[in-house]
Amino acid sequence: MTGREVCDRMADLLPEFLAGRLSETDDTEVRKHLETCVECRNRANAVSLLQQTPIPQPDPDRWGGFVKGVVDEHDRRHKKERRMMTILTVVAVVVLIAVIAYLVAF
């Protein structure tokens, strides 16, 4: 493996390494590499900072009623679709009647 390939492999393993989810062998390999490679150490610091960055919290009221909100929104969209379909059907029937009436009259 070239030096670049080793660094790429380390970058692949960083998320699991920082979360403490690597096997003992891989963990030791990453630790040893980070001791000698400044570039990978800097990458590890950047990934670590991102992982520690807290998640911005959602509005507690909306979050509390989230499941109900999803189902209500689903129903609302379907009602809207059904209303549109009804309107389109009525318009189509009216146009059809008008065309038939025209053809009969002339």
Binding site: R43, Q52, G69, E73
Partner: protein
């Protein structure tokens, strides 16, 4: 209850089963959306939209990928639409430390840490879409490059390259 059974029932219109699926995955969907968009209100709208679309689209879910991976694909599409809409309107997102929770450390250190977090979130949100998707899904959700490729719409190798480029940019700006 087994997830496949819940999916099967939800597909047949069982709202309770679908509600259970929403409860299981809403944290992950919101987390991905908020990391990608860096805006909690927009992320919440996206999360809601994702599950409404998923309820309707369940018939098209064949189970080739994990259910969560499928939800992340919908999340990414919805987040892209929202980002484009807000970009068209010319809205500017403010990444301030105020969005982050209180950290129990001395005032100076707390402020410095909040600044670092805000900067990290801002830099992540500035990455090109595919790199942002790859980095977010890899470092926060621990997804494989194969799964990431399915979500961001590229090969496994390309997902890996996007991750590496993203990490490299973040290394340059954050350290």
């Amino acid at each position: 209850m087994d997830e496949n059974l819940l999916i099967e029932r939800a597909r047949e219109g069982d709202r309770e089963a679908f509600g259970q699926l929403v409860s299981r995955h809403r944290d992950a969907v919101y987390r991905f959306a908020v990391r990608w968009l860096a805006d909690p209100d927009q992320a919440l709208d996206v999360a809601q939209d994702v599950f409404v679309r998923a309820f309707d689209g369940l018939k098209g879910y064949r189970g080739d990928s994990r259910f969560r991976t499928w939800l992340f694909s919908i999340t990414l599409n919805a987040a892209r639409s929202v980002a484009r809409k807000h970009k068209r309107r010319g809205e500017v997102r403010l990444n301030t430390g105020a969005e982050f929770p209180d950290i129990r450390t001395p005032p100076d250190a707390k402020a410095a840490r909040a600044d670092a977090y805000a900067r990290a979130a801002a830099e992540l949100s500035e990455l090109p879409e595919k790199q942002r998707g790859a980095v977010t899904l890899r470092i926060y959700e621990g997804l494989s490059f194969k799964e990431i490729g399915e979500i961001i719409g590229c090969s496994e190798g390309s997902a890996r390259v996007n991750y590496h480029h993203g990490i490299q940019k973040l290394r340059e700006t954050l350290t």
